[in-house]
């Protein structure tokens, strides 16, 4: 099983959710984060002084999938979150040792 962690633009969340649902992946966990990278931050004004804010709001989507669905899921996220502009984000794929569904105690793929 894999844990796919995608850092995307907040405005793409809805599209990513739909793309994953279309694959039958109907579970995910979403976190508001801030990202720092190549994408330039913006300037803020504060009583005439200028400050560069380089931490940009992003959304982290975590999806756990069976190993065989991994590349499909990655492709779906790339397809939905890609706008061709700097700052579209990254996907990190990690190997997952175990998954447990709390409600039933099920383990492994059944628990996803």
């Amino acid at each position: 099983m894999q844990l796919i962690e995608a850092i995307i633009k907040p405005s793409k969340l809805e599209d990513v959710k739909e793309a994953l649902s279309a694959l039958g992946l109907e579970g995910m966990t979403v976190t508001e984060v801030k990202g720092f990278g190549r994408q330039k931050g913006h300037t803020e004004l504060y009583r005439g002084a200028e400050y560069v804010v380089d931490l940009i709001p992003k959304v982290k989507v975590e999806v756990v999938v069976k190993a065989e669905q991994g590349s499909q899921a990655v492709d779906a996220i790339v397809g939905a979150a890609n706008s061709g502009k700097i700052g579209d984000g990254k996907i990190f794929v990690l190997n997952l040792d175990e998954v447990i569904r709390i409600r039933t105690g099920e383990r492994g793929s059944d628990a996803i």
């Binding site: 809805e14 913006h42 300037t43 803020e44 004004l45």
Partner: protein, 438 residues
């Protein structure tokens, strides 16, 4: 208040409109309706009008700013607050420079004059009725500040700040001041005998219908219909609605320009209509959607306040219950049925609340009139209808002309798509509303 000396019908009016400014200046003094002037200041009336003027400013800042600010997404809240602030700044100056004179200077059927530009001829000793003229200027100035600000809810989250600033300045001179003159400055609509005690036509219909025109002209927000655009902070909206409610007593009871029995009546009808609108809207929503919402209650309060505005001194306590109940029902329908049916994106329901509510109130001022005027009940209702239709057309047509011309001169009035998605706070004002870094 001013009984018609010579009647003009609304359908004969539009042709002459472009000539209005000129004709107004050319009006002979004999056509002017004199404002009754009593020599002495009554300190009680003055106290109430000073208070009322402050209350009406409080309606815009922070009332309306919060009511609207809470409803937009967090990336646009500052743009809304800023548009309210600049209305106070810009119109605040414009009013003293020319607006007051243009609305309340002695003039003709359509507009005032330039005689009081920069308040020429007015001193601390000048008296209007029983209060210092300066106080009257201020009270009316606060109305001129809130009216254009009311519109911004319709095109919130997408209009550029620069064009907005220009728009409200022009709109106040071209739409608001003429209407104020026609209704309260002795102009045409007052001569018809229409009732508009505190501004159902002048303030709410004018802004509500203009706002609708502007929202449609500017187009829908990106993602409208697909994305959820939920209010980012409902407590702010409730604070705003509450302060609007409190301030509105200055607006309505203050419009009597005195602390007397009629002011008491206006206070009471304002409170009763608003309470009724809240109750009725909440019950309808509960029945219709299964839950009573606090945004419903807040919206209902504003709808009730809007509706009673023109009617607050012409209906009695019982009538005010009907006005409020009607506002609750009609504005609920406008917002939940009419808007989705027609599909326009009036972001914060300015039309559904102020346009529709203002029209309902203007009609109700006649329908539920407590003491029938010389026009008779039917005549009064007819005049109310005529004024409603005139105001709607006047506001929509002139607003569209202003926007079309601005579009030609300034280019796009909207921010671009990227900016809309980033949010206007950052792109138009280089600011972020909330920051929780340690």
């Amino acid at each position: 208040m001013h009984v018609a000396l010579h009647r003009t019908t609304w359908w004969s009016v539009f042709a002459g409109l472009l000539l209005a400014p000129l004709s107004a200046l050319a009006q002979g003094a004999e056509e002017l309706v004199e404002v009754a002037v009593v020599d002495t200041i009554n300190s009680g009336d003055t106290a109430w009008m000073l208070t009322s003027s402050a209350l009406v400013l409080m309606m815009t800042l922070p009332g309306l700013a919060l009511f609207y600010g809470g409803l937009v997404r967090s990336k646009n809240v500052l743009s809304v607050l800023m548009q309210c602030m600049i209305s106070a700044g810009l119109i605040g100056v414009l009013w003293v420079v020319v607006g007051y004179s243009w609305a309340f200077g002695e003039g003709g059927n359509f507009v005032g004059s330039f005689e009081h530009v920069l308040l020429a001829g007015i001193t601390p000793d000048s008296v209007s009725g029983t209060i210092p003229t300066y106080v009257f200027v201020m009270f009316q100035g606060m109305f001129a500040i809130i009216t254009p600000a009311l519109m911004l809810g319709a095109f919130a989250e997408r209009m550029r700040f620069g064009p907005y600033v220009l728009f409200i300045a022009v709109w106040v001179l071209v739409v608001y001041c003429p209407l104020a003159h026609m209704v309260w400055g002795g102009g045409m609509i007052s001569q018809w005998g229409a009732i508009d005690f505190a501004g159902g036509l002048v303030v709410h219909m004018s802004s509500g219908f203009s706002a609708l025109a502007a929202a449609i002209y500017l187009g829908k927000r990106k993602g409208f219909g697909h994305e959820k655009m939920m209010p980012h902070n409902l407590p702010l909206t409730v604070i705003g609605a509450a302060l609007l409610w409190v301030g509105w007593f200055g607006f309505n009871a203050g419009s009597e320009l005195a602390a007397d029995g009629v002011a008491g009546l206006a206070f009471l009808t304002t409170q009763t209509a608003t309470a009724t609108a809240v109750l009725v809207w909440v019950l309808i929503e509960w029945a219709h959607r299964g839950k009573p919402t606090v945004l419903g209650a807040a919206t209902a309060a504003v709808a009730g306040l809007v509706a009673i505005t023109p009617a607050c001194a012409s209906v009695g306590p019982g009538g005010s219950i009907l006005v409020g109940a009607g506002a609750g029902i009609i504005c609920y329908l406008a917002v939940t049925i009419l808007k989705p049916a027609l599909g326009y994106d009036d972001s914060l329901d300015v039309f559904g609340v102020h346009g529709v509510g203002g029209a309902w109130g203007a009609l109700a001022s006649g329908l539920f009139i407590a003491e029938v005027t010389d026009l008779g009940w039917g005549g009064q209702v007819w005049i109310q209808l005529q004024s409603i239709i005139f105001t709607a057309i006047f506001a929509v047509v002139l607003t569209l002309i202003i926007l079309v011309v601005m579009r030609l001169v300034l280019g796009d009035l909207r921010v671009d798509e990227d900016a809309e998605s980033t949010g206007l706070d950052l792109t138009e004002h280089s600011e972020t509303a909330y920051s929780h870094e340690a």
